[in-house]
Structure formats: structure tokens, C-alpha cells
């Protein structure tokens, strides 16, 4: 019962057999691409064809396919996630492409995100940045009643806006310095807008920045490319929150 237009696309995909193997762009033709398919469904179809001819399918990270887990991560025609506002690669639909179009598909490129295979990179540096301080130091048990401490709606909303980060790494992939500033700042901003997270805000800013540097991410030069590609549309204003906490805590030290 498939409905909708179909098209043929010319794909150019980064293939790399392993972390230390050389990689190169390889050409494929994607036939019978339905306009209602998601970008990843289009790749599924290509992969099934490849498998049938005995070639190894293109490896890419994905899981939820709803734009929330942050697994999918590919640069499409030069832009992380393909450049549709607020949309991850898994939510990008083929109706935005034209019959016969060339599509270039590459992995995130950043020193701190080494390629594992094809379009799959290692983003565990993000976990280590969170481990360095991206939390409230509270153990399970003994929390006061949730309504004991009212939080102004405005603060809660701002906390949420920053907390919407899905940790996909598009911000890093878009930045010419491969900086993780938006990612770090989103966490610092989220927690510093809650009274529970405010207590450690300064230390958090410093330890997370130190870890970011240690992981080999670059510095921020305020180009705001990160904001433009962020699928959750996190604003670079969070970086001001980070800077404020960082400076305050450095002055107090």
C-alpha cells in the first residue's frame, strides 16, 4: 500500500573499514526512494541491496528514529543532520530531496570523535565530560518533597530548554574548531537554572571545561555554527550562562 512519489538519488558515502583503516567516498545509486521515507529508511533500503550483492552495508548509528536519543549522526551535503531546522537525520524525510540529486554523506569529523567505521564515531568523550561534573551531587533517598521548593516557571522553562540537548555532537561537527562549548554550556545552563543545581554551578563549569579541553575539543570562537545545526535548537545564550558561572567561580577561588 505504498503511496507517494519515488525518485533516484546519487549517493556519495564515506566508507572506512575500521578506526585505523583509510577511508574514502564511495558512490551508490539509490533507486525507488519514496518521498515519505526517512533518510535512514533510505539508507536501510540501500543497505539491503548492498547485502544482497554481498557487499557490507553502510554502518551508521541510530536507535530511536524519533529525534530524541541522539544516536544518529551524519553530515549530509556538508551540514550535520542535513540542515533542516530542528531535525535530526532520522527525522529528515526524503520529500526534501529531488529526483536525481547528489547526496554526500559523511561522519562527524572531530579529533575528539574518532571514526569507528563508516559513519559511526566514538562520542564517549561526552560521557566523560558529564562524569566530570554534569550532575547534582545527590544520592538516592532523603530528597525533600518535590513541591517544598517552588521554582519559578520561567527558570524551569529555561532549564528545560537547555536540558533538551540530545548529546548527538552535531554542534562539534559543525564547528570549525570542533569545540564542544554548546554541549557543555547546555548542561551548565540546565542545572544552574534549578535551585538544586545552583549550589555546585561554579565547580561544575570549571571541571567540565577542563575535561572538554583534556578530550581534545577546540576552543569556542563564537561563530554560532553550533546553534544553527542543533536539532533541539539550543541557543548560544547558554554559553553566556556558562561563562558567567565560570568567571564567578574563578573570581571566588
Amino acid at each position: 500500500m505504498t503511496t507517494g512519489k519515488t525518485m533516484t538519488l546519487k549517493l556519495h558515502v564515506w566508507r572506512q573499514a575500521g578506526p585505523n583503516a583509510p577511508g574514502k567516498m564511495t558512490d551508490y545509486v539509490a533507486n525507488n526512494v519514496n518521498e515519505h521515507m526517512s533518510f535512514l529508511e533510505m539508507l536501510d533500503v540501500v543497505n539491503e541491496e548492498l547485502t544482497k550483492t554481498g557487499e557490507e552495508p553502510i554502518a551508521f548509528d541510530h536507535d530511536c528514529r524519533e529525534g530524541i536519543c541522539g544516536a544518529c549522526s551524519m553530515v549530509i551535503n556538508g551540514i550535520p543532520h542535513g540542515g533542516h531546522k530542528g531535525v535530526t537525520a532520522c527525522q529528515l524525510h526524503m520529500r526534501h530531496f529531488q529526483d536525481g540529486q547528489d547526496i554526500y554523506i559523511e561522519p562527524w569529523r572531530a579529533k575528539a570523535f574518532p571514526v569507528i567505521r563508516d559513519l559511526v564515531t566514538n562520542r564517549s568523550a561526552f560521557d566523560r565530560i558529564i562524569a566530570s561534573g554534569g550532575y547534582v551531587s545527590v544520592n538516592t533517598g532523603g530528597a525533600p518533597d518535590a513541591n517544598a521548593l517552588p521554582i519559578p516557571k520561567k527558570d524551569a522553562d529555561q532549564a528545560f530548554d537547555a536540558a533538551a540537548c540530545i548529546g548527538c555532537g552535531a554542534c562539534v561537527a559543525a564547528c570549525k574548531n570542533a569545540s564542544a562549548m554548546l554541549f557543555v554550556a547546555a548542561k551548565v545552563s540546565h542545572l544552574s537554572h534549578t535551585p538544586q543545581g545552583k549550589v555546585e554551578a561554579g565547580d561544575r563549569a570549571r571541571t567540565m571545561i577542563a575535561q572538554m579541553d583534556a578530550e581534545g575539543f577546540g576552543t569556542c570562537s563564537n561563530y554560532s555554527q553550533c546553534e544553527a545545526v542543533c536539532p533541539k535548537e539550543i541557543s548560544v545564550k547558554v554559553i553566556a550562562d556558562l561563562n558567567r558561572e565560570y568567571i564567578k567561580s574563578s573570581l571566588l577561588k
Binding site: 505504498t2 503511496t3 507517494g4 573499514a17 515519505h36 521515507m37 526517512s38 529508511e41 536501510d44 533500503v45 539491503e48 547485502t51 544482497k52 554481498g54 557487499e55 557490507e56 552495508p57 548509528d61 541510530h62 536507535d63 530511536c64 528514529r65 524519533e66 529525534g67 530524541i68 536519543c69 541522539g70 544516536a71 527525522q91 524525510h93 569507528i116 567505521r117 566514538n122 564517549s124 560521557d127 562524569a131 554534569g134 550532575y135 547534582v136 545527590v138 544520592n139 538516592t140 533517598g141 530528597a143 525533600p144 518533597d145 518535590a146 513541591n147 517552588p150 521554582i151 519559578p152 516557571k153 524551569a156 528545560f160 536540558a163 540530545i166 548529546g167 537554572h193 534549578t194 543545581g197
Partner: protein, 637 residues
């Protein structure tokens, strides 16, 4: 197989506190001498890993994604229930308990459900303390919304991303423990075998999904928090990686599998658009707070929805269930949708869809309010379908969503294998035959933060097992089994892809073991599934090698397990000759088409025991006693 649920007796409201008092404790200084393996770091496993490490245990945690933050829990949209009664609308632990037992169509264990309701309030407190940004009112207090199957407003939410925010809270607590050294996190590791020594669960075998290395891990106890098996149907709202492997491997090592046929079909999902479809997308149940569900009264009415006057629309949920209306529970709302589509009144391509219409709500409240409440869901709908729900109703259809069945556990969340504990969607305990919306997040976090940390201590304090290492022959054998299986997949070199087999299995199950099940259809499946499985082992094509990242190989393992598990699910559905909750046997319905339970014969949990390759598993029963809620026909009219 002995099924001792170990439920405490006495007044239900005192059972959990009495039980906590009766359980043995591990001395604080001794906790660090115990190692606990946790497979899965979603809400259930992530919260358990963090809490157990805080208590001083050594934790080895595993997930197959590249980060614990990506577990399927991240996708939960609508909210989490808790008996806080912040709205002063008459909620209480007792009411949440009652709603959950009734919502589960009287197929859950009362003691467990009470405990769940009792600890629910602590979850919200804990999450707020972690900085989870729940929705708030202008006065700064927490906001609530309503979910299906309840007449009070007890659902806490964070826009349409509640699961994300709760998981990030648990993930941050987990990473804090990674930093503190109490948790060793092993990402991109898939558990492929459970190791049982002298009758106790003592470890697992994993495959490193990046290097292909097969490794063994020994511990004093093992926790499975590996989520649900909805993907056995291929198309579901679950993330692509969700699978049954961890629990099915444990089943094959002797853990009882309870009620595999209890699967939840969610009424509001975006309909299938084509054969290439890889998954289905949920439109949160919260939408039914303001959206009205309808189809045309006339069969085959192809007019645009705006051209159909009110008098020619059938708001069938409001008509059939006036007291719950559009917030009728999931099983009921799904069946009602199927019914009107079967009558030829469905809308959209293929006639498999119903409208979810916000027209009235937008008129009443304005588009701005609606966008504040559901903006991200509306955007998601537009992204996927290319249609605008502000100007025309959404089209929705039921889809597989959640699995109430899972490994059988006692009151301590321990399976029939001593030492093997099971938490979250992977176990069977609290939702009976139908889970109410916003109760899975509650259960996962209740298990992980507030129940398992106590009960596993009791096991460790009393089991008194000698330490084992991975040099034990059982580890060697399990690792050898994993290696042999992997080699076998790669050697087949057949013609069909893994996904192709998975799709075929899913289509069979959806047709005959989905929303409506019959003896005839189920018996056919018991013939068809083994044939498909046999073909799989002869004709599947798994390219590549086992020494690197190979997603086809990962999927082959998962689908191979689904091909066996699917049969178990069908067997259970056939065995349960009654309708209850999500399990609808067409032979057993009331004159007006509602599920007809048979309490005289089926008021039990069915627990299946593996009997070896090719042998029919044996069904055991855990009788369910209802002392506090009277067994009655569930009505939402």
C-alpha cells in the same frame, strides 16, 4: 520450577515496610566486596546502577548503545504517574493502586502494585532533587496532566520529553558514580549469555560491538534491565535496537518467562506509510486530553475531514465510554479503533486510520495554548507526515508499544534463578495484562531507585555463595557457545537479509497474534514460525566479519532470538483461553465486544519453563489472589 512469590502477608499498606524490616542487610563495610552486574542502563538499570554504587557495591554496567543516555527510555513522551495528590482531586496511594490493578485487568500481583504506588511519590522528589525540569505552574509548583484509565490528574511531565529528562537525571547520577569509581560502564557491549553456577546467576558473556571481542564477567549477582520485546513484531514504537536477547538467553538458562502474550498496542501512533517502514512513531497519549477521536459514520466516506459535518462524525470513544471518553485505557481504545476500521469506516490510505482532532480544543483554548502543551508532538507529526495538525486532524492507528510480559520475578524482583534479578520493562510484575499510561517510567524508577537496592542486599547477605572467577568451566562453555553462534551466522551466506526475516515474522505476528487473536490463527502460527526459523538458519545472509563493528551480525542474533521467542508468545496466547487487557481472544468477548475474562480458570500468571532445543516449554502457574480489590468486570462506560 518452584514459584514462590515471597509476598509478605498482613495489611497491604504495611507489607513493604515490614518486609524491609525482615530483610537481611549487608554491613556497609562489606558492600564493596560484592560485585553486581547490571545489563541495561535505561531508567531501570541506570537508576539501579547509580543507587547500588552510592550504597557501596561495585557495579559493572552494560549497554549496547554508545552511551547510557541513549537507552530506549529516552523516547518516553507523556509522563510519569505518582500519587502525590498535588491537585487535591482525591488521589492517594490506594487510588493509584486500585487504578493500576483494575487497569491491568486483574492480572497483576496486589502486593507489588501497592508497593509501586507507595514509592511513586519518592520518585518525583528524587528526580526534582537531581534537577529534572518538570513542567510547573506559574506559582512555581509542579504541574500535572491526566492519562488514560484514571480520573485524577497525577501525571508529572516535562513537555513531551518526560522520558528524556528522567533518563538524563538517572544517567547523570550514573556518570557521577562512574567518576567516583563505583560503576564501570561498558558501552557498546551486548550480553549474549547468562552464566549459572551451582544454580545461581554468576555472570554474563558479552560481545564488544566495536572489536568483536567476546568477554566473560563474573559477579555475586546479575541484574537484567534490558527493556521490552515489542520489536518481535518488527514494526513498533520501540527503538530499533530493543530486543529480547538478554531475557531470552536467561530463559534458556532456566529463568521462568511470565505472560509473554501480554503485549500492549498503543492507540495513537502515526499509521504505516509504506513497505519500507522501519518503525512506527507514537503520538503521546497525553494528546487525548484535548484531542477527540472520530471516524465518519458512513462507510467509505472519502470526503476531507473538514467537509464532514459533526452530525456525520462518530466520536466513538465518547459514545461508547461516556465516563472516560477519549481517555479510555489503551487496550480498549485500540480495539475500538480496529473495530471501526474493520467496519470500513477507517480513514487515510488503506482505510487503516482514525482522526485525532484538535479543532474543538483550538477553538476553545487557542492555537497558542495547544502549541504550548503539545508543540513538539505536532512538529513531529508534521515532520513525518508532511501534514499540519493545527489545520486538519491527525490520522492515527494503533501500534505495538510495550510488553507487560517478561521474566517472572518474586516480590524481591528475583527471577526463578537465584541471584538473577530483573527490573523495568524486562520483568513481568506490576502491570498485569495492560499497562496504564505513564506507569512504565514509574515502575522502572521504583525498581531501580527504591526496591532493588534493598532486595538485592537481602540476597547477597543470605546467598553465601563462594567467589567465582571467569576461569570456571561454565564461563568457558558460555563463551564458546557465543563464539559458535557468531561463526554460524557468518557462515550461512544465504539469500535473504536479516531485516527481511524480521519483517516476515513481524507481519505474521501482527496479523494473528496482534490486536485480535483466535485459536485458528495461533495454531497456524505454531506451524509457520518454525518453518520461517528453519529457513532463517539456512538462508540468511550476514555479511562481514566478527572482528569489527558489524550491525548485520548484531541484528542476526536478535532476530534469531525473536524467531524462537515469537513462538513462545504464541503458545502463551493460545494457552490463555480468555480475553484480558491487551490479550484479546476473539472467541472470548462480551456481546458488546469487550474483553471477557475467565477468572475461574485463568486468574494466574503463566510462567514458562524452557525444556531444551526443540522441546515444548512447560507452563507453570502463579495463582493471583485478590484480597483488597474485588475481582470485577472492568468497565469504563
Amino acid at each position: 520450577m518452584k514459584l514462590d512469590a515471597r509476598c509478605p502477608s498482613g495489611p497491604i499498606e504495611q507489607r513493604w515496610s515490614n518486609h524491609k524490616m525482615d530483610m537481611k542487610l549487608v554491613n556497609p563495610a562489606n558492600k564493596r566486596k560484592f560485585k553486581i552486574i547490571i545489563v541495561g542502563t535505561g531508567l531501570a538499570g541506570g537508576s539501579a546502577a547509580a543507587t547500588l554504587s552510592e550504597l557501596g557495591y561495585q557495579v559493572d554496567a552494560f549497554c549496547f548503545q554508545d552511551s547510557p543516555r541513549r537507552a530506549h527510555s529516552i523516547a518516553a513522551q507523556g509522563g510519569i504517574n505518582a500519587a502525590k495528590n498535588y491537585q487535591n482531586d482525591g488521589d492517594s496511594v490506594q487510588r493509584l493502586f486500585y487504578d493500576t490493578v483494575k487497569g491491568g485487568d486483574f492480572r497483576a500481583r496486589e502486593s507489588n502494585v501497592w508497593r509501586l504506588a507507595e514509592v511513586s511519590a519518592n520518585i518525583i522528589d528524587q528526580c526534582v532533587a537531581q534537577g529534572v525540569p518538570f513542567a510547573r505552574e506559574y506559582g512555581g509548583h509542579l504541574a500535572n496532566r491526566s492519562f488514560g484509565g484514571a480520573q485524577v490528574s497525577r501525571t508529572f511531565y516535562a513537555r513531551g520529553q518526560t522520558g528524556q529528562q528522567l533518563l538524563i537525571g538517572a544517567y547523570q547520577a550514573l556518570e557521577r558514580q562512574v567518576q567516583a569509581g563505583g560503576v564501570k560502564m561498558h558501552t557498546r557491549h551486548e550480553m549474549l549469555e547468562l552464566v549459572v553456577i551451582d544454580g545461581h546467576a554468576r555472570g554474563i558473556v558479552t560481545r564488544d560491538l566495536v572489536t568483536g571481542k567476546i568477554e566473560s564477567w563474573a559477579a555475586d549477582a546479575v541484574v537484567l534491565a534490558s527493556g521490552g520485546y515489542g520489536n518481535v513484531f518488527y514494526l513498533s514504537t520501540n527503538a530499533k535496537g530493543c530486543n529480547v536477547t538478554a531475557t531470552y538467553r536467561a530463559f534458556k538458562k532456566g529463568a521462568g518467562f511470565a505472560n509473554p502474550c501480554y503485549t500492549q498496542i498503543h492507540p495513537t501512533c502515526i499509521p504505516v506509510s509504506g513497505d519500507y517502514q522501519s518503525k512506527l512513531t507514537l503520538m503521546s497519549e497525553s494528546l487525548r486530553n484535548d484531542g477527540r477521536v472520530w471516524v465518519p459514520t458512513q462507510q467509505g466516506d472519502t470526503r476531507a475531514p473538514s467537509q464532514i459535518p459533526d452530525s456525520e462524525r462518530d466520536y466513538y470513544l465518547e459514545r461508547k465510554y461516556p465516563s472516560y471518553g477519549n481517555l479510555a485505557p489503551r487496550d480498549i481504545a485500540s480495539r475500538a479503533a480496529k473495530q471501526v476500521c474493520d467496519e470500513g469506516r477507517g480513514v487515510g490510505p488503506g482505510g487503516r486510520g482514525v482522526y485525532l482532532d484538535f479543532g474543538d480544543a483550538i477553538k476553545r483554548l487557542g492555537a497558542k495554548v495547544i502549541s504550548e502543551r503539545y508543540g513538539n508532538l505536532f512538529d513531529m507529526y508534521t515532520t513525518i507526515t508532511g501534514e499540519d495538525p493545527y489545520s486538519a486532524p491527525m490520522r492515527i492507528y494503533p501500534a505495538v508499544h510495550y510488553t507487560m510480559g517478561g521474566l517472572w520475578v518474586d516480590y524481591n524482583l528475583m527471577s526463578t534463578i537465584p541471584g538473577l534479578h530483573v527490573v523495568g520493562e524486562a520483568n513481568f510484575s506490576d502491570h498485569g495484562a495492560n499497562r496504564l499510561g505513564a506507569s512504565a517510567l514509574m515502575q522502572g524508577l521504583a525498581d531501580g531507585y527504591f526496591i532493588l537496592p534493598y532486595t538485592i542486599g537481602h540476597y547477597l547477605a543470605t546467598a553465601k555463595q563462594p567467589k567465582v572467577t571467569t576461569d570456571h568451566p561454565e564461563f568457558k562453555k558460555a563463551a564458546e557457545d557465543v563464539r559458535a553462534r557468531t561463526t554460524r551466522f557468518l557462515a550461512i551466506g544465504g539469500k535473504r537479509t536479516v531485516a527481511d526475516f524480521h519483517r516476515t515474522l513481524g507481519a505474521l505476528l501482527w496479523e494473528k497474534c496482534g490486536m485480535g487473536r483466535t485459536e485458528k490463527g495461533l495454531k497456524e502460527l505454531l506451524q509457520e514460525i518454525p518453518v520461517l526459523r528453519e529457513e532463517f538458519w539456512k538462508n540468511v545472509n550476514v555479511p562481514g566479519s566478527d572482528a569489527s563493528l558489524n550491525m548485520a551480525l548484531e541484528n542476526a542474533g536478535r532476530v534469531a532470538d525473536f524467531l524462537e521467542f515469537g513462538e513462545l508468545m504464541v503458545r502463551d496466547a493460545l494457552d490463555r483461553a480468555e480475553s484480558c487487557g491487551g490479550h484479546f481472544r476473539e472467541e472470548f468477548q462480551t456481546p458488546d465486544g469487550e474483553a471477557q475474562r475467565n477468572d475461574a480458570e485463568y486468574c494466574h500468571a503463566s510462567v514458562w519453563e524452557y525444556q531444551g532445543e526443540g522441546a515444548t516449554p512447560v507452563r507453570h502457574k502463579e495463582p493471583l489472589n485478590f484480597e483488597f480489590v474485588e475481582l470485577q468486570t472492568r468497565s469504563y462506560k
